[in-house]
Symmetry: C2
Subunit: 176 residues, 2 copies
């Protein structure tokens, strides 16, 4: 039987850019952004307007995405999902072209069992279809996605969701 | 009314890697691969077995994809298609990770009207769906593609095709 296609997002789902963004921001502006401040918001909307461009520049710094922490439990669960599903890692990376090779190398390091055929770095996810998608951005849940699983992140805390998970343990319970 | 989605491939459709591959091969092995030799074949199947790895290494050389020639007529026709269709450039680039940034920069240079949201660099095109796809590899024409237009290249010359074009002028006549 044909396996179901499963698309897994990268940032804030298997990789953690937020901890690094907050650390760099604290380093440059001497201010630690608290969980309370960023709840339900994008970081760029929390900092003074003149700092938003700095956050953007962080994301386009060569190497920024190369050494991000792996989200807890992601490797073990994805290793199992990779057996059961036709799995793809899809990241909307094109806004930050310096991230492309970094993201590829990061995946090779932490998820060596994911083959290059399973990686997709795109701009919009509108043309990418699947039976199941795990993503922290509900804007990626278009009609071509059958089952939409919102992965909790600080910015989507107060968003309604058909189906929501807070961590990889919950994904394992749902999909394995 | 919603525009139809149109996916355009890169290599051998808007960019010409074959001329450069043949030039590098001639430079290193003193042999010019003729049109007759490569008709209906992949370059790796034409050269002596021990040279196939060299061709592969060419493709993974940083910069290889950065200065490829643009296929004749591609820029003007795609500029018009970009108005009429919801257009995406999708390239199976992930096998050659050094090509990722090169391909992005090449598109910025030659097709500056294509926004980053419209670019997708993937491994397999299996999860990418569209109303129309223009590609030189029929293996990319899966069930999620409604209209499949095979762009003639040396390797597909003798393949059957539902719909085939030999150049961008023919695409303009079909799609504009």
């Amino acid at each position: 039987m044909k396996k179901m296609t499963l698309i897994v997002d990268m940032d804030e789902v298997i990789a953690d850019p937020i901890t690094k963004l907050r650390a760099w921001y604290a380093r440059d502006f001497g201010k630690q952004l608290t969980d309370e401040e960023i709840a339900g918001k994008h970081l760029a909307d929390v900092v003074p307007p003149e700092h938003a461009a700095v956050l953007y520049a962080y994301l386009n710094t060569p190497g920024f995405f190369r050494d991000l922490s792996v989200m807890e439990g992601a490797v073990d669960v994805i290793k199992c999902l990779n057996e059961k599903y036709d799995l793809y890692v899809v990241s909307a990376a094109m806004e930050f072209p310096h991230s492309l090779k970094d993201k590829f190398d990061w995946l090779k390091e932490h998820f060596p069992f994911i083959r290059w055929q399973q990686i997709c770095l795109c701009g919009s996810k509108y043309i990418v279809h699947a039976d199941i998608m795990i993503d922290d951005h509900s804007r990626n849940f278009h009609a071509g996605i059958q089952r939409k699983i919102l992965f909790t992140s600080h910015h989507n805390l107060f968003e309604p969701a058909d189906e929501r998970v807070d961590n990889w343990e919950q994904i394992a319970r749902k999909l394995l």
